[in-house]
């Protein structure tokens, strides 16, 4: 089971964090900081895995953004690497050649996407098409709601 996923930039700025295990804010910060420094100090040719405390860290760099996941001892690192890749593929498809800015400005979309891909730290939907369909449905609901709200507001109900 994946315990958490962090997205951070080469400058060490956190762009997205998702925790599937309950942790105190204090610990979250500490872990994030520690992992960022460790990973950023690693050389590009080095392997993408780290054994860290009782967890295994899998990370991968896409352009200026690092994707970093913590998995448990029995999990498969290569598979996790591919989960990251699938996530990037999805973001790419949704935003159309995704860049760091997309994730900064639309990070809630990135979260939704992650929620459709993963649930409770396990991969939930491996089909790219299905994830995108689910996201589209959510977007539609949001738009509908917005439209409804506008209508209501115009009518003076709100």
């Amino acid at each position: 089971m994946m315990q958490f996923m962090l997205l951070f930039s080469r400058q060490g700025k956190l762009r997205l964090q998702k925790w599937w295990v309950a942790k105190l804010d204090k610990d979250k910060k500490k872990i994030t900081r520690e992992l960022m420094t460790t990973i950023l100090s690693r050389k590009p040719k080095m392997c993408s895995f780290l054994e860290w405390r009782d967890l295994k860290i899998v990370y991968k760099r896409y352009a200026s953004l690092y994707f970093c996941c913590a998995i448990e001892e029995k999990d498969n690192e290569l598979l996790t690497l591919e989960i990251i890749h699938r996530y990037v593929e999805l973001l790419d498809k949704y935003f159309g050649s995704v860049c760091e800015l997309d994730i900064i400005f639309n990070f809630e979309k990135a979260y939704f996407m992650l929620d459709e891909l993963m649930l409770g730290g396990e991969i939930q939907e491996t089909s790219k098409k299905n994830v995108l369909k689910a996201i589209a449905a959510q977007d539609l609901l949001q738009e509908e709601a917005d439209a409804m709200r506008n209508a209501l507001e115009e009518m003076g109900f709100l």
């Binding site: 910060k29 159309g96 400005f105 409770g120 491996t126 689910a134």
Partner: protein, 1284 residues
């Protein structure tokens, strides 16, 4: 700021004007502004200031009562952003929640709108809520209502969002409120909802398995869902379930295999393909589960081989995902019951990974290699150069993986090189986790494989100096134990001790010493400093005194130092000032009570030197023998019990008793003020953990074996008071991990020829000059190196090669060993494969132990296994195994044939027996003949006395009489009409038998003494046995023509049962006796109630009190009482009590009472009690040695006892004894060791393993293992009483 940020900022204007298409459209100005400001911030401080300001602003805005949904959403986005940047935004949580809930209010206000377009739960709010909160957050409870409402919604998206939130936010207490709604969603028409529901349930299952127990059926249904996504999600639950209870889900193997085959045949929709690889996630999940299901299960494993091989072949693309599948396949192949061909294929794939350029794949290669060498160590040799290269890799991850691999392939030959490597890394390592890991690795290896005591001493000292504070305590204890232990070589002991004293004396000069090392120093100097004549005692005392001025982490360290000083002082005449000074100091002004008391005591002792010498004597070699099971108390206990003292209950039982009492009380007292127990708490509350009792230094030294035992995770649980004491006092009970001669396995009863070969081979090596060694290593390194060897080697390459040959020494040799074996030893039946297998087994066990960090305590199993003589033909073993079965069938035929109360004249009877003889003879093969030399025992094992006569046919004289005895017994099965004739029969037969006995007395004695004894038992001479012949003697019975049937009911006598009926209680009116029948799934106690006076007795009621760890059923229903209305004269009522097992217990007494009315209509009451033993619940578990080995490592709770073996002389006797008395299956005998194993009825998980070993001078070391400490202790206790 960096250039990236600048680029970002440069592109912002275009982004904001919408050049990015639709995605920029809904970004608000406020958020843009915030990001811009943060981006422009020049320093961390400035950034923080901006965020703080933003938060202030948001706080105000959010507190505003009229806030639109759209605004709210934007504020939440900004809030999340601030939080992500590390600021505390907790004030916003409640706002997010409030908004998430407001949906209801809105609905009320806009009630006219259809519910499909309700505005209740926006995606943003739920995101905010689920990011801000976690399952243990106090605000979550406020959300339940909203979540429930959303789950009921008809809008799929809303349901999905709610499910996502539920999976993250609901904690165990709230599951019940949500569960039914989630359950409903399993029937949803949309696959996506079903997937989410299944995944959510999996989360529930993880958090509180017992809450979702009732819907396991629905999980099954989900597994059969037509949508592959749902099926795939359901696999997660099953993965968890299988992990918990593998046996229950074995039937899933065939469907899983089919699914896997379908996947690799690309039968799934292309949607599920990932870069042309079909459903890789699904594949891996199934492969992982197969590993669990196939573990220790040859039958199910064999089903998998084909498909696993196919999967392996299909995963040959050069894609990361392919390698992931490949890796999982390798891991599974190594984990399931091994198949040589498949393992070879897997090993070939390891090469693919290791030779890859990418470090990621090499990392996987190393992992896979670790797994493969568990099964077969020789595969490591092929890759030695790559491994050595990896060791020098600049990447730490690879380096540590390689060290890990080396650690796993350590053996006695390469231990020094590998430990050196590990120590090197310990020097450079900084991370505390890595350091801890390295320390545990070095110490484990040193303990298990150390070639010499000095080496061990130095290695451990080195570890102490490098990482003193993190070395676990038991390492120090083991070190002290090693130095303290006496071996046969006295001179050697002395030398070692002097060495240690000198070494520690000089170590004291170091400015920094970890506390645990000081303990060792103190103890060694205190005990042995008198051996080193070159050192003056007072000099050492002064040095120790200097230590006292240091500050210690552990307060007790000062006590250690003081004690050491006192010990040294006790043997010398003049008292050093340092000592008296420090005594004075601590006597008055120490905060540590222990230290103060010691100071006072020593001060007093100094007044009386002779007393001091008595109390602190120079160490002698004598050790105390202590009865660890406290069996000497048994008499006292039984006496107390007979006086009506309540039976001792272990603490956990007492607790449950108290709880039930408390519940009762609360019921009576009217109101219950206690909160209800949470659904999950019940499990957790019963499991209590022990903390090892605090030990003062002096005691610790004396008891160090126990310290190591408790520290390595086997600590006795607090409620086992006797046992706590015993294990702490038991000096001899625990086998040292290794002794001065090095690792135990080296010297004990190994296959001698092989041992010789090894030593010869090893001798050869060092004899040759260095270059030759190199050449030999090159030839050994099979493939890749062969060509490079001819090229001129650079210095670096040579170094690596040398290292490789050193590191792989053990492994390469073992590979070579197999070859001479094959040639020279073929007639012995040992094939090379078996040799390899021995090695691999050895390896395998090594790792598993190490994995669990159970510091080498179980190392001796490796001895045992290394000594397993594989030369025994497999076929032989199996036929031996089958033998009892064959005889059993023969014998059960006997009983079936004779039991019906037919009139059976003697001729016919003997005829039957003869027939049986023939049939037994017919079935018995050559092997049986060997065994039948000791046939009496075979008979015993089958609990069928009469059969002994058939089998011992060979012993001619004796056999006749036995046969008669047997006949007598059989004939005596009663029948009303034929009693008279029968009795004549019996008499005549008995007479015959007696004559025979007389005639062939000497014969019997010489040939089958045991059988003669049995004969007597058969004839019912023993008073307690309630055999029919008893009633023959009773004239009344016969003259009245009534017999009392006291044979086992039909169907029960086919099971093993007690030879004798045991009388529970009797008076002049009734007699109650019982007979234990050991059915496979239950212990049946057959109770016979016989009316032995002339009048009928009435309204009999029989109650049993069951120990709380057992349960009793009568007539298949759980109850502990039965009644009989009327029992006529001479009639016998037979009732079967089925005693089931719940948990282990040290004492089990089945008590009870019988109430009846005699002819005068007075009620009488009889009390009885009979002890039950653990062996009553143990059943033989047929395992082969390999399985035993696996189980051994997986069981963690052990108990070791050393007992006098009395008249048991050979290992065979011992095994038979164990088989008979403890009902354990004999797995194998190797030299002076034997392993046996049993299972507890009904509980397929509770097994008990036993490793017995003859140790010097007539004692026997028994080592029990199971998954429950109590069980191990209970069986050990029974065993020790049995051997008395």
């Amino acid at each position: 700021m960096s250039d990236i940020m600048e680029k970002t900022l440069a592109s912002l204007p275009g982004f904001l004007t919408g050049n990015y298409g639709t995605r920029g459209a809904n970004i608000s100005a406020g958020f843009q502004n915030l990001i811009r400001c943060v981006g422009e911030a020049k320093s961390k401080h400035e950034e923080e200031r901006i965020i703080k300001k933003e938060l202030e602003l948001l706080k105000q805005r959010l507190a505003h009562p009229d806030i639109s949904k759209k605004q709210m959403r934007e504020y939440l986005v900004r809030l999340i952003y601030c939080e992500m940047l590390g600021q505390d935004a907790s004030f916003g949580y409640i706002h997010a929640l409030k908004f998430a809930q407001q949906g209801t209010l809105l609905d009320k206000r806009v009630g006219m709108f259809p519910p499909t377009v309700s505005l209740n739960f926006g995606t943003m709010e739920i995101l905010a809520v689920s990011l801000f909160l976690h399952e243990n957050h106090e605000l979550v409870v406020l959300l339940i209502n909203t979540l429930q409402r959303d789950l009921r919604s008809t809008n799929i998206v809303e349901v999905c969002i709610a499910l996502t939130a539920v999976s993250r936010l609901i904690n165990t207490e709230m599951i019940a409120a949500i569960l039914p709604l989630v359950e409903d969603k399993l029937q949803h028409t949309k696959a996506i909802v079903r997937i989410k529901a299944v995944m959510t349930l999996q989360q529930f299952h993880k958090k509180a398995p017992n809450v979702v127990q009732h819907i396991h059926g629905k999980f099954q249904k989900a597994l059969c869902d037509k949508d592959p996504g749902v099926m795939s999600a359901a696999l997660y639950i099953f993965h968890d379930l299988i992990k918990k209870d593998t046996a229950k889900y074995k039937d899933l193997v065939p469907p899983f295999i089919t699914v896997l085959q379908q996947i690799i045949d690309k039968k799934l929709p292309t949607d599920y393909e990932y870069h042309q690889i079909p459903a890789p996630w699904l594949q891996i999940r199934i492969i992982k589960m197969l590993a669990k299901l196939g573990q220790d299960d040859a039958v199910n494993s064999s089903l998998m081989y084909k498909t696993l091989e196919n999967t392996l072949i299909r995963a040959d693309q050069h894609h990361c995902m392919s390698y992931a599948i490949l890796y999982e396949c390798i891991m599974t192949i190594c984990q399931i019951s091994p198949n040589a061909a498949l393992i070879a294929k897997a090993a070939a794939c390891v090469g693919r990974l290791l030779k890859a350029r990418s470090n990621n794949l090499r990392y996987f290669g190393l992992n896979a290699l670790s797994a493969v060498i568990k099964v077969n160590a020789t595969y490591a040799a092929e890759h030695q150069l790559i491994v050595i290269e990896c060791l020098d890799d600049p990447d730490d991850t690879i380096k540590f993986k390689t060290l890990d691999l080396l650690y796993r392939m350590t053996n006695q030959k390469n231990v020094e090189v590998i430990c050196e490597k590990l120590t090197e890394h310990l020097k450079s390592a900084k991370d505390i986790y890595i350091k801890k890991d390295l320390v545990s690795k070095i110490t484990t290896l040193a303990e298990r494989f150390s070639p010499r005591a000095e080496w061990y001493l130095n290695t451990i000292n080195q570890v102490f100096l490098l990482a003193g504070t993190i070395v676990p305590k038991e390492v120090a204890n083991n070190l002290m134990k090693l130095i303290a232990e006496d071996t046969a070589a006295e001179e050697y002991d002395r030398e070692l001790r002097i060495n240690a004293v000198m070494c520690y004396n000089s170590l004291m000069d170091r400015p920094l010493l970890p506390d645990s090392l000081i303990h060792v120093i103190c103890w060694v100097l205190g005990e042995f400093s008198h051996l080193a004549e070159s050192l003056s005692p007072n000099e050492i005392v002064d040095k120790l005194g200097k230590l006292l001025s240091r500050s210690f982490e552990d307060e007790s360290t000062a006590s250690w130092v003081l004690t050491a000083m006192a010990k040294i002082q006790s043997s010398c005449e003049d008292v050093s000032d340092t000592f008296t000074d420090s005594l004075r100091r601590y006597k008055t002004c120490s905060h540590d009570m222990d230290l103060r008391q010691r100071a006072c005591e020593f001060d007093q002792l100094l007044q009386d030197k002779t007393l001091m010498k008595d109390i602190l004597p120079a160490p002698t070699s004598q050790t105390l023998e202590i009865d660890s099971t406290l069996s000497f108390l048994d008499e006292y206990v039984s006496e107390a019990l007979s006086q009506g003292v309540p039976v001792y209950k272990p603490k956990q039982q007492r607790q449950t008793h108290q709880i039930t009492m408390a519940i009762k009380q609360s019921l009576w007292s009217g109101l219950n003020f206690d909160p209800y127990e949470s659904p999950t708490a019940s499990l957790a509350s019963t499991a209590s953990k022990s903390t090892p009792p605090h030990k003062s230094p002096m005691i610790t030294i004396a008891l160090d074996p126990s310290v190591s035992s408790s520290a390595s995770g086997h600590s006795s649980e607090p409620w086992e008071t006797e046992d706590l004491g015993s294990s702490r006092l038991n000096l001899k009970g625990l086998k040292p991990v290794w002794s001065r001669e090095g690792y135990h396995g080296t010297k004990q009863g190994k296959d001698k020829t092989r041992d010789k070969e090894v030593t010869e081979f090893m001798d050869e090596k060092p004899a040759k000059s260095k270059p030759t060694v190199q050449v030999s290593s090159v030839t050994a390194t099979a493939t890749p190196s062969k060509h490079t060897a001819t090229i001129v080697e650079t210095e670096e390459e040579r170094r690596k090669r040398e290292l490789a040959s050193a590191v792989f020494s053990g492994i390469v040799t073992s590979e070579k060993e197999g070859i001479p074996d094959e040639v020279g030893n073929n007639h012995g039946g040992r094939t090379p494969k078996q040799t390899i297998f021995t090695d691999s087994l050895l390896e395998g066990f090594g790792h598993r132990e190490v994995d669990k960090n159970q510091q080498g305590k179980e190392a001796s199993i490796v001895d045992l296994l290394s000594e397993i003589n594989f030369s025994q033909d497999v076929a032989d073993t199996s036929s031996v195994d089958m033998l009892p079965g064959i005889i059993q069938t023969g014998v059960s035929a006997t009983s079936v044939g004779v039991t019906p109360p037919d009139l059976t004249p003697s001729g016919q009877d003997i005829g039957i027996l003869n027939k049986l003889d023939n049939s037994v003879n017919g079935k018995r093969n050559d092997l049986l003949q060997d065994i039948s030399a000791d046939a009496a025992e075979v008979g015993k094992t089958m609990n069928m006395n009469q059969s002994s006569s058939h089998v011992t046919e060979k012993t001619e004289g004796g056999s006749t009489s036995q046969r008669m005895g047997g006949t007598a017994y059989l004939v005596s099965i009663p029948d009303d009409s034929s009693t008279d004739r029968e009795s004549v029969h019996i008499e005549s037969l008995q007479g015959e038998a007696r004559d025979d006995t007389k005639l062939t007395d000497s014969d019997i004695k010489s040939k089958s003494g045991a059988s003669a004894d049995l004969l007597l038992t058969d004839s019912g001479v023993k008073p307690s046995s309630v055999c029919l012949l008893d009633s023959d003697i009773d004239d009344n019975a016969l003259s009245d023509g009534v017999t009392v049937t006291q044979t086992l009911p039909d169907g029960l006598d086919q099971y093993p049962h007690a030879k004798e009926h045991q009388e529970l209680v009797s008076d002049s009116v009734v007699r109650v006796s019982s007979c234990k029948v050991w059915k496979p799934d239950v212990l049946a106690i057959v109770v016979f109630i016989t009316n032995q006076n002339k009048f009928a007795i009435q309204s009999m009621q029989f109650n049993v009190d069951v120990p709380s760890n057992l349960k009793v059923a009568i007539n298949e229903s759980e109850c502990n009482t039965f009644s009989v209305d009327k029992l006529e004269f001479r009639q016998c009522h037979v009732e079967e009590l089925q005693v089931g097992y719940i948990g282990p217990s040290l004492h089990m007494v089945l008590g009870g009472q019988l109430l009846y009315k005699d002819h005068t209509n007075t009620t009488k009451r009889l009390f009885f009690s009979t002890p039950l033993h653990m062996s009553d619940f143990l059943r033989p578990l047929k395992l082969v040695t390999e399985e035993f080995g696996k189980k051994w490592t997986s069981c963690s709770k052990d108990k070791k006892i050393v007992i006098q073996r009395g008249n048991i002389q050979t290992m065979e006797d011992y095994m038979k004894f164990i088989e008979e008395k403890l009902h354990l299956h004999s797995v194998q005998i190797i030299g002076h060791e034997g392993i046996s194993c049993g299972i507890l009825l009904q509980k397929s998980n509770d097994i008990c393993l036993l490793h017995g070993k003859f140790v010097q001078s007539n004692s026997l070391e028994l080592w029990f293992r199971s998954n429950s400490q109590l069980l191990s202790d209970a069986v050990a206790r029974q065993c020790s009483t049995l051997f008395k």
